[in-house]
Symmetry: C2
Subunit: 199 residues, 2 copies
């Protein structure tokens, strides 16, 4: 015996969610049918609306359903003259949660990776160039990940800034706050030593 | 900064899924937006269809979109004269996967639990009584869970069968195949001893 067609289809499509396999999808299906049909209908509507209407912000490429996202549309943020370049929308959220940074963002939605055929235009660097030309940006903070691709992307963007006489800086890499030297990998420790500051 | 309204709504509703918290919901949202919008739309449709059309089988109370489920509608199954009573649709799947049992099912969708206000009618025992009266059932196999409530439910249904001169049997509880006595709980081991069979 198999599940009825509608149940099979729901179980199959739930597996599109990351980290959800056959058993979890079955559990989700029965949970929703038995306990929360209203919630499931709300989820169906939310999925449909988000997939149909959420696009990239015209300026920073972050996800939004408006033409300009909330951050890009804020005059206070534009006045800071500081632009933070990150790889993903999740990185924007991580930086925002510190409440320290008050400038604009640019979301690459990836990183340079010639081996995968991802070049400057695929991560929107043409749009970043326009943004640097049109807005009074004074400093670009490069907050890409400390991976080989992230570093390469940061250096590429730093050169774009240099040719426009805009200051480019890289976020510090070193010992995490609360971390212990003993358990740190050598690469991070090397970064921490090379990036030392006078007290 | 918060997520845009459509993203927030999607993250909120994804949390209706069992085992999905805020962080997982965010990861799912970005995964679908970045990599599988088509799949997400399929999921939205599947959710909508299942929640709107999947109901309980008129006879066995299992989930189905037809009036009678595939098993109840099968003449071969009706002829066996054996009925297996289980607590949940997942239990039906578990028994079906053994390919041993070829009879009909009755799905309680729960168990008797006076403390939670769940009485015989809430688990469809009125419908089970009709089924026993209308169909030529010769044996009822009680496969409720070996919990206090499951045992109470099994005994209640056994009495219903007795008053109709129908044989009622309980599935065996004992040492699982592949299990080792050393690691088994006392209650299971006691069941295994009490249910011993002559060789």
């Amino acid at each position: 015996m198999k599940f009825s067609p509608l149940l099979s289809e729901l179980i199959r499509t739930l597996r599109y969610l990351p980290g959800v396999g056959q058993k979890t999808a079955q559990r989700m299906t029965f949970h929703l049918l038995e306990r929360n049909r209203q919630g499931a209908l709300e989820l169906a509507t939310a999925l449909h609306n988000a997939m149909e209407h959420v696009q990239h912000c015209r300026q920073c490429r972050n996800f939004t359903e408006s033409d300009l996202c909330e951050i890009c549309a804020s005059p206070a943020r534009q006045q800071t003259g500081v632009l933070c370049v990150v790889e993903t929308p999740q990185d924007v959220m991580a930086v925002e949660q510190t409440s320290e940074f008050k400038g604009l963002y640019f979301v690459l939605m990836g990183h340079l990776s010639p081996i995968d055929g991802i070049g400057p235009d695929d991560i929107g660097l043409d749009r970043l160039a326009e943004m640097l030309d049109e807005h009074p940006i004074e400093e670009v903070i490069l907050a890409t990940n400390p991976t080989v691709e992230g570093e390469a992307t940061a250096h590429y963007i730093a050169q774009m800034c240099r040719s426009r006489q805009i200051k480019a800086s890289r976020i510090a890499h070193g010992v995490p706050v609360g971390g212990e030297l003993e358990y740190l990998d050598g690469s991070t420790l090397m970064h921490a030593f090379n990036g030392r500051r006078e007290l």
